[in-house]
Symmetry: C2
Subunit: 305 residues, 2 copies
């Protein structure tokens, strides 16, 4: 099996095993793969990076499968990154099943990667973005990034996408409603999934009212669609809406916003690693544990020396 630049050449040239290995190297921060980052970045072909997010239970996984089917109908090669909140209890089993399902289909024009989100702050977003760039370089377009859950990590991932699809469902409780509202802030396209359930039209109307109430936050409010992922109903119009958003996402202003987020996440990730590598790290931790210094003053001191 190839190494270094040869590995990248093989991955970009269509060798799926090489691509899988490259992605593993990115996730594990393999130093040999680390050296390839500038080349991976340079090899990117401009794939449409689409984030799929929404509250738990909204049917995101099923919708990603339905979107993939629709993109394939349109002759596109689809990359999928599923960010999985793995834990010692679930062990990423949910995604594992889906990967097997996808691989059984043996469609070489689909490449799916599951990523564990157990990483530290900022880490998952940075790594997800690099994995997406590698899939882009390997000729997959769009690259769909699906997040499980509705927390800050998901918002981070969403901020790195060019087009973010927020998946909602009819009728949920108050607390879920608040989370929905948080997600709406990053929405470029909204779909009310499970639209065969009662209240779907009403939910869509409420969402429209919420987005209208947000005033000047949006040049134009994001479109709100209805889908039933299990049957595929409404999925073609959803792909149309995602495609239509591509132009907006490609403006220089939007590119700068995204670049700023990418840089910020990378700065956080690198700073953390550097600080933990300092010889004073352990003694500083002890000082805090013994209440001899507060954490913020300690952090400043660590960064200053």
């Amino acid at each position: 099996m190839a190494h270094g630049p040869a590995l990248l050449t093989a991955a970009v040239g269509g060798d799926r095993r090489a691509l899988a290995r490259l992605l593993t190297g990115i996730e594990n921060e393999d130093p040999h793969v680390r050296e390839l980052l500038p080349q991976i970045f340079a090899a990117s072909r401009g794939a449409h990076l689409v984030g799929i997010t929404g509250p738990p239970g909204a049917g995101k996984s099923t919708l990603v499968t339905a979107l993939t089917r629709e993109y394939r109908k349109r002759g596109r090669r689809v990359g999928i990154v599923a960010v999985d909140p793995s834990s010692p209890y679930t062990g990423g089993a949910i995604m594992g099943d889906r990967i097997r399902m996808m691989e059984h289909a043996a469609d070489r024009n689909i490449f799916m990667r599951s990523m564990a989100s157990r990483g530290e702050l900022g880490g998952i977003a940075a790594a997800t973005w690099l994995v997406a760039a590698a899939l882009d370089a390997a000729g997959y377009d769009p690259v769909l990034v699906e997040t499980v859950g509705a927390g800050q990590a998901e918002l981070e991932v969403a901020r790195l996408a060019e087009t973010t699809v927020v998946v909602e469902v009819p009728e949920m409780g108050d607390e879920i409603q608040a989370i929905k509202a948080g997600l709406l802030e990053v929405a470029d396209v909204v779909t009310v999934n499970k639209a065969d359930r009662p209240g779907a039209e009403r939910s869509a109307g409420q969402l429209r009212a919420m987005l209208a109430g947000a005033g000047g936050r949006f040049a134009a409010p994001p479109p709100i669609l209805l889908t039933i992922a299990t049957t595929g109903e409404g999925v073609a119009p959803l792909v149309d809406a995602i495609e239509a958003d591509r132009t907006r996402a490609r403006s220089p202003d939007q590119a700068r916003v995204r670049a700023r987020n990418q840089l910020l996440r990378a700065v956080i990730e690198r700073s953390r690693r550097r600080a933990e590598g300092r010889v004073e790290w352990d003694s500083t931790v002890n000082e805090i544990a013994e209440h001899r210094i507060d954490p913020i003053t300690a952090a400043d001191r660590l960064l200053d020396t």
Copy 2:
């Protein structure tokens, strides 16, 4: 109204308006309050810092109210920090209602603070911890930190608590189940709330099996209780379990784990601010936007110069 050290003295001495102002200063990163951090830290009296977390809809707010009632019965002064995923849509209204409710009660031995979690990565956890330290200095013990939602921000807050209570509910969907599993990793005490619903005992049994399956992760698996927050049933035993955990939480090893997390969050927060303040920030963002450099190489360059 007092400023600087006089503000701190007033806040610690029982002046509620001064305390409120001090907390606002912490949240807004007021430089005058920033100078007080070492004194706030030094004034801490060792309050029990208890995190309350769990999936949306688990009844955390009601449980915090019930816990507060029980602690008051035991003569304790209770500080509450509610981390609210605010957004331009909800505007933190959920918490707003509760604050009014609490203030109507006019119990000077309860102090509640609602905090917006819109902040950047690491920011909310760092600020929450400092607010809790200030409540501790003002004589509130325990300080209950409640998070709304079940994402990474919540896990971060939980990691800073001495004792983390994970609130579960009977019978939820698969995806929620995965989130529950993620939360269990940080659990010191677990309660199945809404225990009057069908399946509560079965859920508790499943949780016990999950935790037993985790093997060596726990010296002893966390206790699993049943509560009905709305009636107060099971709340006294829950307070007993939280109190019993205090000894474990106070071991030197545990203090170091917590100190490490505090330092890490502070390093992230300060690094971010420093990087954004660099003169090269904007030009670096442009280089990334124009695909002339990858974000990780750019971050390293920014941190090296």
